[in-house]
Amino acid sequence: MDCSSPLDISLNLNTNSFDSNFPAKLPKKEVKASTSGGVESKWLVKDKSASELREELNRVSSENKKIKEMLATVWENYNALHHHLEKLQSQKSPEIDHIEQPTKKRKQDPEEFLGFPNGLSSGKTENSSSNQYHHHHHQQHEQKNQLLTCKRPVTDSFNKVKVSTVYVPADSSDTSLTVKDGYQWRKYGQKVTRDNPSPRAYFRCSFAPSCPVKKKVQRSAEDPSILVATYEGTHNHLGPNASEGDATTQVGSSTVTLDMVHGGHRLALEKNKRGTMQEVLVQQMASSLTNDSNFTAALAAAITGRLMEQSRT
């Protein structure tokens, strides 16, 4: 199914042709083969004729075939929906998705997730020498494998990770992509991205795997003298230099931007501000002192005494 087309999320199982109690529409919790109970009782009827048994067998076999078809349809639809969902997610956060791919591979046991019954899981069924059995068994196993390949906990990908961004000025000759933030990091990868000529480095907190925080560092595409560090997650431990103002303690806000892109201009403005502040302070001190009559008198006396001393010598 083409994911780009508007997705039809109904299963479209052709249940009309199916003569059992399968639900016409999903969702339904109970899906039962209608014959389970009926056949059981028929086994117990000793005097059941062979022709009747054959008839019953044919009926159950055809039902079996239809269930398999339905299962294949559901699997196809599930797969299509799954791809569609992944596509949507990757559109939302392509970078995060890319990084998390290796961890997705370490998924939980898919059989566990699906909760397949043990008998099916181990592929063991009753013994039979007929070719039909082997064919069925093979089909069943194949379908199970097909199902397993598309499984993973769908809810996992919806866990939100706190992301914060920090801009740090750096020497353009320095290629180490190191951002000192008080934590120790282990580099685990580097790649070149389409949108930026500088490579992007990936770091994990040195306390990994117990600490889930990851860091990406890349030079800004606009200004290569700026390093852009993106933090994902929150440290679950204290940093070695916690007092040094580590960047990830500010994780609460979604983005922390230290705007140093126009650094020179900004610094000049800061200097001007400081100069103006100092002038104002000096003026305030001067005015408060001149308003103080005691201070004026003391100052006058000191000056006069000095003058007198000078005239004596």
């Binding site: 997705l7 999320i9 299963l11 999903l26 969702p27 339904k28 919790k29 109970e30 899906v31 039962k32 083969a33 014959t35 389970s36 056949v39 059981e40 028929k42 086994w43 059941k48 062979a50 048994l53 054959r54 019953e56 067998l57 159950v60 076999s61 039902e63 079996n64 269930i67 339905m70 299962l71 559901v74 699997w75 639809n77 599930y78 929906l81 799954h82 569609h84 969902l85 949507l88 699906l114 909760g115 397949f116 019954p117 008998g119 099916l120 069924t125 009753e126 039979s128 007929s130 039909q132 059995y133 069925h136 069943q140 379908q143 199970k144 199902l147 499984k151 769908v154 809810t155 919806f158």
Partner: protein, 39 residues
Amino acid sequence: STTTALVDELKRVNAENKKLSEMLTLMCDNYNVLRKQLM
């Protein structure tokens, strides 16, 4: 003996049917989880 073989085969197919039905139920559940995520 033919009847016994038929009964055995019937048992086997029936058990397979049951397991396939369970798989289908699980598949439907998973499908619905995905569908809810999309809605």
